[in-house]
């Protein structure tokens, strides 16, 4: 956690109560550049270690940085630089909130096809890209990595470098866009992002099919093998939620197809309009978790879902922790929310679940967690089984940030 985030707790727990108010630990200074030059100067001229921030909604992802001497806030870089509806491309500054971007694009019938959690909480485009976070409709549109077509980045030494461009089809030069996506700001800070856009669907419906993990998985695999092209397939709260979007006639036909696939079970319930929007707000938020919860994300092949769910129930039961699972079933991405029990118990569940999921060929990464979990479990992986190319990852870090100024220790393997 950053010094800023722990300031209150440290003062309260460690300092003498009488002096707490007077000597409260100050968080690191926050730099708020408003254009590229100010951003470059702030990075180049501020000594010490830096932490890039956007809306602050996922600052707890990764390991706590070893030290933060200054925070580089992108809040002042919040412009929509250009929207070219005919090219279906937008150029945005990193601090622009995803919600405001979508509002600006909607009148042209377009959107940036990302629906991650925490949009209402102020998630910015830069933050979503830096975490490669996505939501249920990743099923159809992919993740930030699939939608970012150009970036400008400021490196620790003040180098301002672009890669990609402003056209979707482009293979000139190395694809560093994907490298920065999901790097949690450990290589540099995003200064400008070019994204490809999609048309907003004309019609949308959601079917809710009551299902346990085994039935849900069978239905999901049958759906993926069928003619339907769902935009989302989520398992949560004892039901499979299937979203179908497109032209009115196409959506109606796909709904009929899904009903045939699910025949024999309970009659599916159908949602449209504001009711449907509310359903997905709730389903999406489940992946972020809330206060008092620890959140871990597993990735497996889609057909492993029943085993993943069983392993979570077992691990949670052993530790006496309450666990809820929400899964993007078509993608093989499963989010566990742990509540009740102490930090030691939460860490035990993550370790235990991670071991079983590894046996299924998958991985488990820690996201949000309650105080005290850090230090008990590595947020990235079992330290005994690091990513195969960790050495190359370290060399990439050493090339782009040789002095380890950007969030040192936040990334996998202590990068």
């Amino acid at each position: 956690m950053t010094a800023g985030a722990t300031a209150g707790a440290t003062a309260g727990a460690g300092g003498p109560p009488a002096a707490a108010g007077a000597t409260a630990v100050q968080g690191p200074p926050v730099l708020r550049p408003t254009d590229l030059r100010e951003l470059r100067d702030a990075v180049r001229d501020t000594p010490g270690t830096l932490l890039a921030g956007g809306g602050g909604t996922k600052q707890d992802w990764g390991a706590p940085p070893e030290r933060t001497d200054a925070v580089v806030s992108c809040g002042g870089l919040d412009g929509l630089v250009e929207h070219s509806p005919g090219d279906m491309v937008a150029i945005v500054q990193p601090g622009l909130s995803l919600g405001r971007l979508q509002e600006a694009l909607a009148p042209s019938g377009q959107w940036l096809a990302l629906d991650p959690p925490l949009v209402d909480g102020g998630a910015t485009v830069g933050g979503v890209v830096a975490t490669n976070d996505a939501g249920p409709r990743r099923q159809r549109y992919g993740a930030p990595r699939d939608l970012v077509i150009g970036v400008t980045v400021v490196l620790a030494d003040g180098t301002v470098a672009r890669s990609g461009g402003r056209v979707v089809k482009n293979v000139a030069g190395f694809d560093l866009m994907r490298l920065y996506c999901g790097s949690l700001g450990t290589l540099g800070v995003l200064a400008e992002i070019v994204v490809r856009l999609h048309p907003l669907p004309e019609a949308s419906r959601t079917l809710r099919i009551p299902a346990d993990p085994a039935t849900a998985t069978a239905t999901t695999l049958a759906l993926l093998a069928s003619a339907a092209v769902p935009t989302a397939v989520d398992l949560a709260g004892g039901a499979l939620w299937i979203r179908l979007q497109g032209r009115e006639a196409g959506v109606a036909a796909q709904c009929a197809l899904v009903r045939r696939l699910a025949a024999g079970g309970e009659e599916p319930e159908e949602f449209q309009g504001s009711e449907e929007a509310e359903v997905w707000r709730r389903l999406t938020a489940a992946h972020a978790g809330g206060a008092g919860e620890t959140v871990a994300r597993a990735a497996t092949l889609p057909d492993r879902l029943p085993a993943v769910a069983a392993a979570l129930i077992e691990a949670a039961g052993r530790a006496g922790v309450e666990a809820r699972l929400a899964s993007h079933a078509g993608l093989g991405l499963h989010t566990a929310r742990l509540s009740g029990g102490d930090a030691r118990a939460h860490a035990a569940v993550v370790r235990d679940w991670r071991r079983t999921v590894a046996g299924l060929g998958g991985t488990v990464v820690l996201r949000r967690r309650i105080d005290g979990v850090d230090g008990l479990v590595d947020p990235w992986c079992d330290p005994g089984a690091p990513p195969s190319a960790l050495a190359v990852m370290r060399r990439v870090k050493a090339q782009l940030d040789p002095d380890r100024r950007w969030a040192p220790g936040r990334f996998v393997g202590g990068i």
Partner: protein
């Protein structure tokens, strides 16, 4: 020159016949699809496993000897151009399909498997591999990974990088690593994303995990004729504005139509100023709704004729005509350069007018074939090398066209790659700092700079000598491969 010691060592590492050193045989590997650039490799090796590739690379790394990986050699930018003092690693003996997972829609293949073999292997399961470069009959998945290949359908489905989940690769120091995973989001930097499209500068792929898609329920294709490319461009704008993302939108101008018709007789109208091929795919009802909208839009944009493919055979014929465009140019002109620029689609009319002007100034003809949906232009600059000075003028025009694309906010290459062909145009698109950062990332993979050196990055040596005009690839002459 490769030392006798290294030659012997590699021969011992590989199965019999795994090393080619005969000068006549080495000549076979002189060029890839950019046939104007030719270099005889120092030595050719034909490994059959990851371990053999790693052993070869380790030996090269120890001696500081450059190496170049090669698949089928269909690349159009000289990305697999050999190194005279280096080892050419030919992956054609690594062509096994290692595993197929139908329920999870994944396949693991060796790098020498061809693009089309992947789709064929799972056709019976109703699945396919989406990226479809025109050379898909012969081009290999390893080459596709190196070049981040696209194809006519990438407007809707994306490129190789959107469909390859993981790559097992031999790093330039000989270490074998897995980049990515068969699941989504493995922890760590997305080195898979950097590796794909790095044109062989970051190592050699030895296994590839691809994502498969279900074959669309319905496909509808039409050809609409227009008086001019500008009018066809209006129709494309109308389709985009209607929120339709076609599987493919291709445009041919009058000169390209003439060549394609002469070569294939696919039924394109010889009196049209431009032809637009529009293909939609997906769930039946969805496709029908959008197809009828596309027909209306074409009519509103003053299409002079709309031909709808009645069945799969007619669709295949339409595509055969389109895909023959490059090879067909031989019927119009003895020589030509093909370009691969990209522009923001909305600037199409302006750029075409400017290209016509520039061609007029040089007294040359330019035929245009494009992926109109994504602004990827393939202007073909026609010339006769036997006319004094014409080749030089044609080359200058081809370069000027691609640089015009960059000035208009586009790219020097949409799918053919930079390779040796366009390395000298990179500074038009990227600043010194941009290129220096890419070079730093390259150094993280390859500190010695021995993996496919002389490609992508401009060097004085390279930029002093330009490749010659386009000559048909041997496979193309043999009619095995159509070109895009």
């Amino acid at each position: 020159m490769i030392s006798t010691t290294l030659h012997r060592e590699l021969a011992d590492l590989l199965p019999p016949g795994g090393v080619v050193a005969e000068p006549a045989q080495l000549g076979t590997y002189q060029c890839d699809g950019l046939t104007g650039a030719r270099v005889t490799p120092g030595l050719v090796v034909l490994p059959t496993s990851t371990e053999e590739v790693a052993a070869v690379v380790r030996a090269c790394a120890r001696d500081g000897v450059p190496f170049v990986a090669r698949g089928a050699g269909t690349g159009l930018s000289g990305g697999a151009l050999p190194h005279a003092d280096g080892v050419l690693i030919v992956l054609s003996r690594m062509r096994r399909i290692l595993s197929v997972d139908v329920p999870n829609q994944r396949m693991v293949v060796e790098p020498g498997v061809t693009n089309l073999e992947i789709s064929k292997a799972v056709a019976g399961d109703g699945l396919y591999y989406a990226p479809d470069p025109s050379s898909q009959v012969v081009c290999t998945i390893g080459g596709n990974v190196a070049e981040n290949s696209g194809g006519a359908h990438c407007l809707k489905y994306g490129f190789t990088t959107n469909h390859v989940l993981a790559v097992e690769a031999v790093m330039p120091d000989g270490e074998v690593v897995t980049l990515g995973a068969d699941t989504l989001d493995p922890p760590g930097y997305d080195l898979r994303g950097v590796f794909i499209g790095s044109e062989g500068l970051t190592g050699v792929a030895t296994k590839v995990v691809v994502r498969l898609l279900r074959v669309p329920e319905a496909v509808r294709t039409l050809v609409a004729d227009f008086d001019s490319p500008a009018a066809a461009g209006d129709a494309v704008s109308g389709i985009i504005a209607a929120g339709i993302v076609p599987a493919a939108v291709e445009m041919l101008d009058a000169l390209a139509i003439e060549a394609c018709e002469a070569a294939t007789g696919a039924g394109y109208s010889l009196d049209a100023g431009a032809a637009l091929v529009v293909e939609l795919d997906g769930p039946e009802a969805e496709v029908e709704a959008e197809f009828s909208a596309v027909r209306t839009i074409c009519g509103d944009s003053r299409a002079t004729r709309v031909r709808i493919a009645a069945d799969a055979a007619e669709r295949a014929l339409i595509w055969r005509g389109r895909k023959a465009a490059f090879a067909a140019m031989g019927r119009l002109s003895p020589d030509y350069f093909v370009q691969d620029g990209v522009i923001p689609r909305v600037r199409l009319g302006r750029v075409l007018a400017r290209i016509a002007e520039m061609a007029g100034e040089q007294g040359l003809q330019v035929a245009n074939v494009f992926h109109a949906g994504d602004g990827n232009l393939h202007p073909l600059v026609l010339f006769d090398a036997t006319n004094d000075g014409e080749a030089v003028r044609a080359e200058r025009l081809a370069t000027a066209i691609v640089e015009l694309c960059v000035e208009e906010g586009g790219s020097i290459t949409g799918e053919h790659g930079v390779g040796t062909d366009k390395a000298c145009s990179m500074p038009k698109m990227f600043s010194e700092e941009d290129l220096a950062v890419m070079a730093r990332v390259r150094a993280a993979f390859d500190p010695q700079g021995i993996s496919n050196p002389g490609k992508v990055f401009p060097t004085p040596r390279l930029c002093g000598e330009r490749p010659g005009p386009y000559r048909p690839h041997p496979l193309e002459e043999a009619g095995v491969v159509e070109r895009l």
